[in-house]
Symmetry: C2
Subunit: 330 residues, 2 copies
């Protein structure tokens, strides 16, 4: 723990909010009487499934691409991503008239690959378990003079994702409610870091809880150890969006200071949460987007009697897989 300045400030997030405002969806805060009854908490949902491209990733991508100087934009952008950052970068590049190349795992959901192409990006596939996506992306970017757009460890990306927290804080202030807890999923930790900075700026006592897939608990390990640690390399999860090996350097500098707690949810708990969201919330949530909800529903943190904001971070899931998840018996 140090008192050095954090990599992003609330002012960076305010600036990002202005940059993305003309293109990003300002997602509402939703409430659900059945969810309140089930949990004994007062729950607000922040449905980033309703965001442009179906996840929060558009926010950070658009803010980052907008920061690239005009003289450099001709080289285009390169990104690596399992799918949501891919779509965010592709859609932002399309709006800004830039060329985008996305390096995606060959086993990423078909719909994510197709939608990325649909935003006009070139998609290059790689093997998630044997190849190094950062090296592939760098090799493509170099000769072209393209800008590499990292999925989380970048101040502009983090500030963009922080607009999720800024909107939560704004809406809670309008309602006159102080949230006890804000919980969101994490992979590299950019979303939760941005949310923490924005929410803590207005509500210093609100607990920020990070939710991870079971086996991909690198934030839990790292917070415990006080330094960045990886999760087990042989883990598997339904949550294709949340498979980063360890927290980012910049994101962890924030998260180490501002997060209160780390929780995790198993594939079965995530499946139940997706089915609950289908049946009772009428929202389509992908596995990775449902981890915070799954943690709430399976009692991984103490919510009873509290005001809790749950971020549903994405909804990009193949129809076949979704059909299985909502019809399964858990």
């Amino acid at each position: 723990m140090t008192n050095s300045p954090l990599p992003i400030t609330p002012a960076d997030i305010d600036a990002a909010a202005s940059v993305i405002a003309p293109y990003a969806v300002r997602t509402p805060l939703l409430s659900s009487p059945s969810l309140d009854a089930l949990t004994g908490a007062r729950v607000f949902l922040k449905p980033e499934v309703l965001q442009r491209t179906g996840s929060f990733k558009f926010r950070g991508a658009f803010n980052k691409l907008s920061s690239i100087p005009q003289a450099t934009r001709g080289g285009g952008v390169v990104a690596f991503s399992s799918g949501n950052h891919a779509q965010g970068v592709a859609a932002a590049a399309q709006i800004l008239g830039m060329q985008a190349t996305i390096v995606m795992p060959a086993d990423s959901p078909l719909s994510k690959r197709e939608r990325t192409k649909g935003y006009g990006a070139e998609v290059v596939l790689y093997d998630r378990y044997t190849e190094d996506r950062e090296a592939i992306a760098a090799a493509i970017a170099g000769p072209r003079g393209a800008t590499l757009v990292k999925p989380y460890d970048d101040p502009f990306v983090m500030a963009g994702q922080g607009t999720v927290g800024r909107e939560i804080a704004e809406d809670m202030a309008i309602l006159g409610i102080v949230p006890d807890i804000v919980a969101a999923p994490a992979s590299g930790g950019g979303l939760i870091a941005g949310i923490a900075v924005a929410v803590k700026a207005r509500f210093a006592d609100t607990s920020i809880i990070v939710a991870e897939p079971a086996g991909f608990d690198d934030h839990a390990r790292s917070l415990r150890a006080g330094r960045r640690e990886a999760h087990d390399n042989d883990s598997k999860t339904l949550c294709d969006a949340l498979m980063a090996l360890m927290p980012g350097e910049l994101t962890f500098a924030v998260n180490q200071r501002l997060l209160s707690e780390a929780v995790s949810a198993t594939d079965a708990e995530v499946g139940r949460a997706m089915a609950f969201a289908f049946r009772d919330l009428k929202l389509v949530v992908e596995p990775g987007g449902a981890v915070a909800l799954a943690s709430l529903l399976s009692g991984k943190f103490d919510a009873r009697g509290k005001t809790v904001v749950i971020v549903l971070s994405g909804g990009n899931v193949d129809a076949d897989m979704y059909a299985k998840m909502i019809t399964a018996t858990y």
Copy 2:
């Protein structure tokens, strides 16, 4: 056409808004960049799938039950419904501490029957094609002194549903936008009538379009004929929520004066709209709830260049059926 007063006024809808406010979800207006791109219109969605009980029906039911004098409440309420009105009445009765008995078709979706029971109501099944639900409901209500809660042809029910239109008008006024078109599904016509009164009170020139399932075009026929007409008795549709035989007497008195146009969508068009809502909007919409969206997507009315509000009226669909709809090839 006459100039006699309509069965409900904007003031009735204002009163209903106050009555339901503590319990109903104030649903947001959503926008979708992909939907705008696809249609060439500026589209706002009113997602009543997010309403308590998963459809707009809670609004009218709660307003109606709240109007029953204390002295009469002990007799409870009886309603007939294919499922959404059933849940609305059951949930409203549970909140108000009243007993509810619901007469439902034996072929209504299992989830709707189960959810109705889940709100504490007694469910009585009947055969949609051979038995008279109104007679069954009346026979149950009589001896108990129960109040019959009609699904649409009641001023309190209509005023409650009209709060959907009131919220649309309020939110559009805040945005400083005059809607060219508001389109919503109809069965008995209570929702569209309430919306028409509320929206026209603020935006007199907005066109109100009613959307029906193909073959269940009793509003189209009735508007054309200038009097209430039934649809063909042997029609079938996926839209279990929209099977009323003809417009209501009170609802048609409103709709005849205030509606601009009637459109319809086939089962395939409804299926495509549900799949679009899954894939691009991340909202779970039931067949009957998707008819206005289906009409927009299949070009049944002229939307290009216009500002259009589409009501997604309900999202209560069995998982098995939903799985089929989103994985089908249309």
